[in-house]
């Protein structure tokens, strides 16, 4: 028997997990220095600024996160196939074992890539006299792996819940048509795209140039001349992650959480409004079939689109009001 409240409740759990996932994704890219702001870390040695930053840019964040999440999702999925028949009455027990093991495998791959990326990139800067500090290398691996673990764990859990959503709410026909590894891949790409586009601003614009004037875009002449000294001693990435965890990380988490919330809720609300829920069509197939459709199903899609367009319009107007308020509050540029 399908319980609609359970469906909505699981969606909230997914949105919360998404919040945690993207928060830690951004912090992982800060503690390991990945993605766009790392261009400054890379440039620093070339403009004569020898530093103690961890220089890891394995690839763009979406692709590297997709890799970890897909490795974790695939391993977890294989383990689930083997473990679920052992406990047919309580399949969650299989998930409790399979998901952390899958994520642990991904974390190991993450550490290997971190070491090779940091050593390779720094060794390539020998001509700029940038040394490989071994304490920087060893000291950052565990924070990188743990932050990455949190992200991958949450994403794999989201994929597990989504691929079993119908079963968890009482009717397996509402399970998502995609398999667990593909869902892990999709959300891995998306979490990386958001972490890269939102969270990096706090690290790149603010923390990397903290000895430059606050409240202006960082000029081209500053590029490469990053802040190398911390509140106490020489700065490493560990000083950066603590700073970004106060604003950049949670803001990024909120972005992904909101996207997941809006996307899932508009579909569910559409199904509610079109009366597709709570009584599903009796002939709805167990394995999703694209050739199956009902009038209520089509109306669900229409309502979902209407709700979605309403959200987009609200954000458009919200941004206009926000930008107008900021311009009035901050005023024109007054520096030199």
């Amino acid at each position: 028997m399908l319980v609609v409240e359970l469906l909505f409740a699981w969606m909230l759990v997914i949105a919360f997990l998404a919040f945690i996932a993207c928060t830690f994704e951004d912090l992982e890219s800060d503690v390991g220095s990945q993605s766009n702001p790392n261009s400054q870390v890379q440039l620093a040695a070339q403009v004569g600024q020898v530093h103690r930053f961890f220089n890891k840019a394995i690839s763009g964040e979406p692709l590297s996160n997709a890799m970890y999440c897909t490795v974790a999702g695939t391993t977890a999925w294989i383990l689930l196939q083997k473990l679920e028949p052992i406990v047919p009455d309580a399949k969650w027990k299989a998930a409790v074992v399979a998901i952390p093991l899958g994520v642990a495998v991904a974390a190991m791959i993450h550490i290997i890539f971190s070491i090779t990326a940091h050593c390779g990139r720094t060794a390539g800067q020998k001509r700029f006299e940038q040394p490989i500090y071994l304490d920087v290398l060893y000291g950052h691996l565990l924070p990188i792996a743990t932050h990455g673990f949190m992200t991958t764990f949450c994403i794999t859990s989201i994929a597990y819940i989504q691929s079993n959503l119908g079963t968890l709410a009482g009717d397996p026909r509402l399970n998502h048509p995609f398999a667990l590894p593909l869902l892990a891949f999709i959300w891995g790409i998306t979490v990386g795209a958001i972490g890269s586009s939102t969270g990096d601003i706090h690290y790149g614009t603010e923390r990397e140039f903290q000895d430059r004037p606050f409240g202006e875009g960082k000029r081209v002449v500053y590029h490469g001349k990053i802040t190398r000294y911390a509140e106490c001693g020489v700065r490493t990435q560990k000083d950066i992650v603590g700073f970004c965890a106060k604003f950049g990380g949670p803001c990024t988490g909120l972005t992904f959480g909101l996207i997941i919330l809006f996307e899932n809720y508009r579909t569910l609300i559409g199904m509610e409004l079109a009366r597709f829920l709570p009584v599903l069509p009796a002939d709805l197939p167990f394995v999703p079939d694209v050739h199956f459709a009902t009038a209520a199903g089509n109306m669900s899609a229409v309502w979902g689109i209407v709700v979605g367009l309403f959200i987009i319009a609200a954000l458009l107007v919200g941004n206009m009001v926000f930008v107008r308020w900021v311009r009035k509050k901050y005023g024109p540029f007054v520096g030199a």
Partner: protein
């Protein structure tokens, strides 16, 4: 084997989807690495990554909708709305980060006066930068880009699922791959940063569309061969 109308539809929808992917990528406000330092306008990531992230989100909803609706327009528009929601939330939160985290006013580097809200841009811009944040003109262009790109992705996904009889997973992977190829072609045109509709780089669109057409026709033919050669869409 006789040419069936469905075969033409497969190639047609793949080509339209590919062209829309290219157009969508040109409309997105891509700031790349400079945007992460507040040196350029837009979202601080690459063209392909931003487009891919948005379309992934759209495709997730498209696939949910395709399990209870067989109307191509509903599936495609669901994907378009999903991608547009992703991109608008990202742009809005990026603005929050610029304003409250770095004390920067969103301002365009390409236009002196916002063509939509008529707000002056130049007095608010930091010297020696190319604008910063996501101003309204860029925001609207980005929303259009997400919508168009998501629509293209949803269209291709549905064509592969419904006409080529691929399985759900194969259709998603194939649609994303064709989409990715087109987004990468667009990225060559954009070269780092763009502000979308009002950027001079947008004028290079026709050349990108020609190359996109070539790659999409090729991809459509490969999909067609897979449909003919492999029963049930193969895998």
């Amino acid at each position: 084997m006789a040419l069936e109308p469905e075969m033409i539809l497969i190639v047609g929808y793949v080509v339209i989807g590919g062209l829309l992917a290219s157009l969508g990528a040109h409309l997105l406000p891509v700031g790349g690495a400079p945007a992460a330092m507040g040196t350029a306008t837009g979202v601080a990531t690459g063209t392909v990554q931003l487009m891919f992230g948005a379309v992934m989100t759209g495709l997730f909803t498209s696939s949910t909708v395709s399990s209870f609706s067989n109307n191509i327009w509903l599936v495609a528009i669901s994907g378009a709305v999903g991608a547009a929601i992703m991109i608008t939330v990202v742009m809005f939160m990026a603005n929050i980060m610029y304003v409250f985290g770095c004390g920067i006013v969103p301002v365009s580097g390409r236009v002196a006066v916002d063509p939509i809200t008529k707000e002056p841009q130049t007095p608010y811009k930091t010297p020696q930068t190319d604008g910063h944040g996501v101003p309204n003109v860029v925001f609207i262009s980005g929303t259009m880009g997400g919508f168009v790109g998501g629509f293209g992705g949803g269209l291709m996904y549905f064509a592969l699922l419904f006409y080529a009889n691929f399985t759900y997973v194969t259709a998603a992977i194939a649609a994303l791959s064709i989409f990715l190829a087109n987004a990468i072609l667009a990225a060559y045109n954009i070269r780092g940063t763009t502000e979308g509709l009002y950027d001079p780089k947008f004028k290079r669109l026709p050349k990108a569309l020609v190359s996109s057409l070539a790659i999409s026709v090729l991809a459509g033919i490969v999909v067609l061969l897979a449909t003919i050669g492999l029963p049930q869409g193969g895998i």
